[in-house]
Amino acid sequence: MAEQKTVTFIITRQDGPDSAPYEETFEVPYRTNMNVISGLMEIRKNPVNAKGEKTTPVQWDMNCLEEVCGACSMVINGTPRQSCAALVDELETPIRLAPMATFPVVRDLIVDRERMFDALKQVKAWIPIDGTHDLGPGPRMPEKKRQWAYELSKCMTCGVCLEACPNVNDKSDFIGPAAISQARLFNSHPTGDMNKSERLEGLMEDGGVSGCGNSQNCVQVCPKGIPLTTSIAAMNRATNIQAFKNFFGSDNAH
């Protein structure tokens, strides 16, 4: 039998949140149709690096394995993307894996995306319907609107758009494109519309929509093809109108 084919992975590792990052190389047995995660699983089965030394298994995050949860995002050969959807046959080797630099590292390839959830809280990206009695069915939504709003609802808070944004970094408090688009999603909903101004106020807070500098990388990299730059421009318009209503006064400033 011919010698077993292998794939080389060069992984940026980090033992804990405060320890220094280092690189480790692994030779992983090749299988047809393998993805980056199955490569990582091989390393977990047999945590021996390319020098033949026994090491700790590489840690990563995952859940759905079908590019809908966003948990497995990492930087693969320089590009932030989902490792479950990254097929080894389509990648240049050696395959370089690193955690997304925008987020604090928990361990190895696992990052803490809490800032994205904080951002969703800032813009109140939900619809408050809980109460003490049944409010009955809400208003209907025009079909045309539902179609574009559905596209926005595909966001999986994966963080790839934040990783690509030059204005999301440790010198700025910009919340990034994902939450801005989510504010638009919930404002487009007929029931969500009733609390529209609260989301717009959140977008007008520090780090909000005005932090965008139009590099438009986000819309290029989003794995879900979400029209992020359209959302940002739409929220620019909506926050400006809200600001005028707030200042001059309006009966429709809800």
Binding site: E205, D206, S210, G213
Partner: protein
């Protein structure tokens, strides 16, 4: 205005001032200077008209100096809070984003030098607003190139800024309208650059 919404207000003001009045002033300034192409007389008449506008010092302070000062100070801060990544993401708009910041800094250096050499010297009584002032500066080849880079940077910054102004104010929302806006601001860039560069050539080479 709620306390945490200051940044929003400051950024919108920054954006607005970039177009009104600074961008309008830039265009007007290059347009009036272009009279130099029709001869010394013509330039002196046009520049003299501007210099003799009533309340000219108030106009200068409120339409030019204060807006530029505000836009430049916040602009430098904004430019240095970005972490440019064109090597990883070499998309067209990402390059425009980076160039907007680079040309902002070049423009700042140019404006400071240009104001010092012209308006301040005139104010100190060391020079007069006339054709020969610019002719003396621009016949020096180094200064000619310095002005060329300065003017093209300023016009690029204005034209590309106009594009992002349309986004910041939520005017161009759809990808299609943003694309049309790109073509429109390329036209603005070419026309206003022509005015500026043509004038420079007139002062430097008399043609």
């Amino acid at each position: 205005m709620a306390d945490q919404q200051r940044e929003f207000f400051y950024r919108r003001l920054h954006s607005l001032l970039g177009v009104v009045p600074i961008g309008l002033f830039l265009t007007q300034h290059l347009f009036v200077n272009h009279f130099a192409v029709y001869g010394e007389e013509s330039f002196n008449k046009a520049a003299g008209f501007m210099a003799e506008l009533p309340f000219v010092i108030l106009l200068e302070i409120f339409v030019i100096y204060l807006p530029i000062l505000y836009h430049a100070v916040l602009g430098v801060y904004i430019a240095f809070t970005a972490k440019n990544n064109t090597s990883r993401f070499s998309y067209f708009r990402n390059w425009m984003f980076r160039l907007q910041r680079i040309t902002g800094i070049i423009t700042l250096i140019f404006i400071v030098w240009h104001v010092w050499e012209t308006r301040v010297q005139v104010g100190l009584g060391n020079a007069e607003v006339e054709y020969s002032l610019m002719e003396n500066i621009l016949t020096n080849p180094f200064m000619f190139w310095f002005y060329l880079v300065g003017i093209i940077s300023a016009v690029f910054h204005f034209a590309n800024g106009l594009w992002s102004f349309l986004v910041s104010w939520g005017i161009t929302q759809s990808p299609k309208s943003q694309k049309v806006a790109t073509y429109a601001v390329v036209l603005v860039f070419l026309v206003v650059s022509y005015l500026g560069v043509r004038t420079l050539i007139q002062f430097a080479y008399g043609v």
